[in-house]
């Protein structure tokens, strides 16, 4: 019985990623958050270092590693910043896997390979101003015109949206039929350099301010025939597949972030003195942190079981929904306990804890809200 899912090679990779995260990302986070921006070079560097295609096959420009290599990557970025983990995970777990899974050789050459090298930045486009998790209700529409497609509509809350070179976008191409609520949806690779694409607004957020989150507008944008990703009308099934990887990804870096917050809070509780002793000597504080550590350990165990199913190609919709829900709750609980334990220091702008506390609130909304996960689980459990 081995005690860790990781091999020595993974441990080595962890060292390399950690070094990068601590030397090239962590020192800038306070500035980036203040500016509400971060440089594109983060993607370029991650690509140069081979981090953007760790679990992609070599034939598609990846490193040919297993999924646990991607787990290592997401954990190490999640340790320093949920915001940067999110933007990189959009690249590695959301925008690009559908191209590998459903794309043509041409699309893999044109979009996937440069994306894994960090030369192109991708985004995933599902949510719209009027619809989020209810994918069947999306209104952005692509209509055939000769060999081309004409795209009209808007997309909302799109991470990397303002800087993306391409957006893996879910679009309506057929009518919503009552007997087939999943039909009429297709996926496209939208080249944002084409005329008719407009970033309407970069949204100012309460947390993860450094990541760009955009409202996008497509006004009769003309797409070539090979912008269609996979088969016409198959988009719903394709995006449901994508969402599994997306939710696993955010769960992995989420729990790593919670653990990092916990570790820092424990260090604080050992050092900070009040009433003549370290606050960690007070049972009320030590028990709170014991509870938080237990939550982290438990959810971590759940996530690793989930990752293990994933690597064995088990399509674990139930476990993935559980993981997403559990991690969202965990992060908010742990971050709140951290702020409480740090006292005033937990509320100072520019610190790790305050930044992550604000950022983690997004985890219970993005990628399918808590309520959506509960709804999925209700269906799987045969309740709804």
């Amino acid at each position: 019985m081995r005690l860790s899912p990781f091999t020595d090679e993974h441990d080595l990779l962890r060292k390399v990623v950690r070094h990068w995260a601590e030397s090239e990302i962590a020192p800038h986070l306070a500035d980036w958050e203040k500016q509400g921006d971060f440089p594109d070079s983060v993607f370029r560097r991650a690509g140069e270092l081979g981090f953007l295609g760790l679990a992609f096959p070599e034939s598609a420009g990846g490193q040919g590693g297993d999924f646990w290599a991607q787990v290592v990557f997401l954990e190490e970025i999640g340790r320093v910043s949920q915001a940067i983990a999110m933007v990189l995970s959009v690249q590695t777990d959301m925008a690009t896997p559908p191209i590998l899974e459903f794309g043509s050789d041409r699309q893999i050459e044109r979009w996937l390979k440069p994306a894994l090298r960090g030369e192109l930045i991708g985004a995933i486009g599902i949510t719209e101003p009027d619809t989020g998790s209810d994918v069947a209700s999306i209104r952005t529409r692509a209509v055939r015109d000769g060999d081309d497609w004409v795209l009209r509509g808007s997309k909302m809350y799109i991470t990397n949206g303002a800087r993306a070179d391409f957006i893996t976008m879910v679009v309506r191409t057929g009518e919503l039929e009552e007997d087939d609520p999943w039909g009429g949806i297709s996926m496209f690779i939208v080249d944002t350099s084409l005329p008719g694409f407009e970033v309407s607004r970069k949204l100012a957020k309460s947390g993860m301010r450094m990541s760009d989150t955009a409202l996008l507008f497509m006004d009769g944008m003309r797409l070539p025939a090979d912008a269609l990703l996979g088969a016409e009308g198959e988009g719903f099934r394709q995006i449901m597949w994508e969402l599994q990887g997306e939710r696993i990804g955010v769960s992995i870096f989420g729990v790593a972030g919670a653990r990092a917050i916990l570790d820092q809070t424990i260090r604080h509780a050992r050092e900070r003195e009040a009433f003549g002793r370290p606050i960690g000597q007070f049972q009320a504080v030590s028990h709170r942190l014991a509870d938080m550590a237990t939550e982290v350990e438990a959810v971590q165990a759940l996530i690793y079981e989930c990752c293990d199913l994933w690597t064995r190609n088990v399509y674990a919709t139930e476990e993935v929904a559980m993981a997403k829900l559990a991690v969202g709750q965990l992060c908010n609980k742990v971050a709140d306990a951290a702020v409480q334990t740090l006292g005033g220091a937990g509320l100072v702008e520019g610190t790790f804890i305050s930044r992550e506390w604000l950022g983690m609130r997004i985890g219970r909304i993005g990628g399918g809200s808590d309520e959506v996960q509960r709804q999925i689980l209700s269906r799987i459990m045969g309740l709804a």
Partner: protein, 392 residues
């Protein structure tokens, strides 16, 4: 190789089927009657023994089929889904505590006399540390054993001892000197030894369990029944706590699963405002949340189980990690079982208070969990210490 090693193999699946069948045929048909009578027959031990379910973690030379702790976990999970948790607890205390202590600490003669018949179910064992004045604070026990030539003379009392009122033998902890920590020793005391008096405690939970009080008045125990070295008791107790807490974690998860299934079934059958209660989204989502918590707790308990299996098979598992994760599993799962059982009572409405429905029993039985085997605050103390935090 990356990834998690599988915990259960194919052979464990068939073991699970057999265990499930045993519980369905030999226990559950009688569960309501036993609960009504607050009792169950001693012969159940023999039936469990002859079916082989006391044997998974013991070697063949003592009548077992192991050691296979994954199989033992399977038995615990299935047994804990019985509809009479007090019965589960008696069977568990016999096997996971008394018999295991004899196995871990005993010599061959003691194993021949106590372990083999325990595996067969011919003898019932109890394990006694807790006293009126000391529970988790093991060093606070007041029962004393004084050496008198080839015998030890025990005086003191024990409470909350599962199987205490009807066991054939008791593994009892007593102080053998005044200088801690090496001043506690374990003894195997035959129940018919003069001077040992016992009574059954009337509890609001685990109602079929034979939880007892023991009174030792000049109870003479031969030195050949001393279990382990003089003064080794505290160490043995601290070590075996880990397995006990893990079994309680697996048990609590099974009880929580059973409570959730029962709750969901009731919500399907019960109509309110013109539709089944299950059609209300708040109940769907509440059940979904509980399912996530159960699955999370189970993942944690399984992580602890992996550490135990690894340690048993000779892998160098850091003891700190084993203790920390096991304590976390116990902390997480016991209160969880209470929460799930509480929602099970809630969905039953008025019927949640009726003894004819099992919901109230799950709720009462689960409540022992955060207290027995080390309270939840004791778990937090242990975890906090492992994090380098004080517990003043």
């Amino acid at each position: 190789m990356s990834g998690l090693d599988p915990l259960f193999l194919e052979e464990h699946d068939s073991y699970r089927q057999a265990a499930r069948l045993f519980v369905a045929n030999e226990i559950n048909p009688h569960a309501e009657g036993w609960e009504e009578e607050r009792d169950f027959p001693r012969t159940l031990f023999e039936r469990v023994g002859s079916a082989g379910f006391f044997g998974a973690k013991f070697e063949e030379r003592w009548g077992g089929t192991g050691p296979d702790y994954a199989a033992e976990a399977v038995w615990i999970e299935e047994l804990s889904r019985s509809l009479t948790f007090g019965t589960t607890s008696d069977l568990g205390a016999h096997s996971q505590l008394a018999a295991l202590y004899v196995d871990r600490c005993g010599d061959d003669d003691q194993k021949e006399r106590y372990l083999r018949p325990s595996v067969e179910g011919a003898l019932i064992g109890a394990f006694a540390v807790t006293e009126p004045g000391a529970g988790s604070d093991v060093n606070g026990i007041a029962t004393r054993a004084r050496r008198d030539r080839d015998e030890w003379v025990l005086n003191g009392s024990k409470v909350f001892i599962t199987n205490g009122s009807w066991s054939d033998y008791v593994v009892a902890a007593a102080k053998t000197s005044d200088s801690p920590p090496d001043n506690i020793t374990l003894f195997i005391v035959d129940a018919d030894t003069p001077g040992l008096e016992r009574s059954r405690m009337k509890m609001i939970a685990w109602e079929t369990s034979h939880t007892g009080e023991l009174f030792f008045t000049d109870v003479r125990v031969p030195d050949e029944n001393r279990l382990g070295e003089v003064g080794s008791g505290f160490g043995h107790i601290m070590t075996n706590f880990q397995w006990e807490r893990l079994t309680m974690s697996l048990s609590a998860i099974a009880l929580a699963e059973l409570s959730l299934e029962t709750a969901i079934q009731y919500a399907r059958d019960r109509t309110a405002f013109g539709r089944p209660v299950i059609k209300f989204q708040v109940w769907q989502h509440r059940f979904a949340d509980l399912a996530v918590r159960i699955r999370t707790g189970k993942a944690l308990a399984y992580r602890a189980l992996r550490l135990h299996i690894a340690a048993e098979s000779g892998v160098d598992v850091p003891r700190d990690e084993l203790v920390r994760v096991t304590s976390m599993a116990k902390l997480f799962t016991q209160r969880l079982a209470c929460q799930v059982a509480d929602e099970c009572v809630q969905v039953h409405g008025g019927a949640g208070a009726l003894r004819e429905y099992p919901a109230q029993r799950f709720w009462r039985d689960a409540r022992v969990g955060p207290i027995g085997g080390g309270t939840e605050d004791i778990m937090r103390n242990i975890i906090a210490r492992s994090l380098g935090l004080g517990t003043a």
